[in-house]
Symmetry: C2
C-alpha cells in the first residue's frame, strides 16, 4: 500500500496510526501542502478532492477521507479492532471521532485559515479562530468521555477515538491552546506511550521540516 500524506496533516497522521496499530506496512509519499502539491494535476488525478491523505491499495484502488480509510482498515484487518463492542459502544466511539473530524478539524485546517486571511484576518485573528474552535470542540469531547473508564478514551483498549484525539491535541498545542481537559490529557499520555502513536509523530516523518 502507499499513503499519500504530509507530515503535519493531522488527517494523514490518523491513518499512519491506524496502519501502525494494525501492523500494516505502507510506503509514504509526501504531498507538500504548503507548496500546493495537493492542487497539482498529478495529485488531483489520485484524489480529485485535493486533500491528503489518500491510500493506494496494492490493487491500485484509491481510498480518500481519513475516516473512510480507518473504517476500511478495520474491515480488512480486524486485529486490533478500532471499533470494538456493541452497536451502542461503537456509536459512542464514532461520535467522539466525528466530534473531532466534523466539528474541530475542518474549521482549523490550512485551507480554512487561508480563507480567513483572504477575508482580512491577520495572523493573530486566524490563530484566535483556531484556538476558539479547538477549545469549544474539546469541551464537547471531554463531556463525551464522562463515565468512561481510562486509560484510553473508551477503556483499556485503543479505539478510533484515540486515533483521532492525539493528532488533534498536537494541533491544539501548535495553536497555543491552553490544555485544560484532564480526561483528554490522560488518554493522550497513555497513547503516546504506545509505539503506534510515537513513531508516527509528525516530527519523525521523513518529510518533516
Amino acid at each position: 500500500m502507499k499513503l499519500h500524506g504530509y507530515f503535519r496533516s493531522s488527517a494523514a497522521w490518523r491513518v499512519r496510526i491506524a496502519l501502525a496499530l494494525k501492523g500494516l506496512s505502507c510506503d509514504q509519499v509526501a504531498v507538500h501542502l504548503r507548496h500546493g502539491d495537493q492542487r497539482a494535476p498529478a495529485y488531483l488525478k489520485i484524489n480529485p478532492q485535493g486533500l491528503v491523505p489518500a491510500l493506494e491499495t496494492d490493487d491500485g484502488d484509491i481510498l480518500t477521507q481519513s475516516l473512510a480509510i480507518c473504517e476500511y482498515l478495520d474491515e480488512i484487518q480486524a486485529e486490533p479492532l478500532l471499533l470494538p463492542g456493541t452497536a451502542l459502544e461503537r456509536a459512542r466511539i464514532r461520535a467522539f471521532a466525528y466530534a473531532i473530524a466534523c466539528e474541530i478539524h475542518p474549521l482549523q485546517n490550512l485551507r480554512v485559515l487561508n480563507r480567513l486571511k483572504a477575508l482580512g484576518q491577520d495572523e493573530d485573528g486566524v490563530k484566535a479562530w483556531a484556538r476558539e474552535t479547538i477549545a469549544t470542540g474539546f469541551d464537547a469531547c471531554e463531556a463525551l468521555l464522562e463515565g468512561q473508564a481510562g486509560p484510553y478514551c473508551f477503556g483499556g483498549q485503543i479505539t478510533l477515538a484515540d486515533v483521532f484525539l492525539v493528532p488533534q491535541m498536537a494541533n491544539a498545542r501548535r495553536f497555543g491552546v491552553e490544555l485544560r481537559w484532564p480526561r483528554l490529557h490522560d488518554a493522550e499520555v497513555a497513547c503516546l506511550d504506545h509505539e503506534a502513536f510515537s513513531v508516527t509523530h509528525p516530527d519523525l516523518q521523513w518529510d518533516a521540516e
Copy 2:
C-alpha cells in the same frame, strides 16, 4: 425512540431519512436552533455538544453525531443497508458522505456563519463564504461519483451517500448556489422520488416555519 432535531438542520434531516428508509418510527422533539434551545441547560444534559441531532433510544441511551447515528441504525436494522458491498465499496460510499459531513457542512452551518458575522462579515459576505464552500465541496463530490452507475450516487440502491447528499443540496439552494453538477442533480431527483426523502423534507416537519 426519540429524535431531538430541528426542521432546517441538514444533519437532523439525514437521520430522519435513515429512520424512514429503515421503517423505524421515532418521536420528534424540536430544538429551535435560532432561538438558542441547543444551549439551554436541559438540552446540554441530553447532548453536551449543544448540537442536533441526538437520538434517544428506547433504553434511554443518547446517541449524537448524525454519522454515528446512521452507522448505528445500519447495525441494528440491516434492511435496507446504507453501507452495502465490499470493504472497498463501503469505503467509497463513506468517503462521499464524509466529503459532505467533514468538508462542506461544518463550514456553512449556522454556528460558523455567526462567527464570521462576529468577525465583521456582512450578510452578503457570509452567504458568499457558504456558496464557495458548497461549490468547492460539490466539485469534489461530483468527481467522487465518476464511473459510478446511477440513478443513485452508487448504483441502483440508496446508500449513506444519498442520505447525506440530498440535505446538502437543499442547503445549496438556500444559499443560492448555482447547481452545475449533473450527477449530483440526477441522484437527488431519483432520491426525492422516494418517500423516505420526500416526507422527511424540512418544509413538511411540524416545527417548520
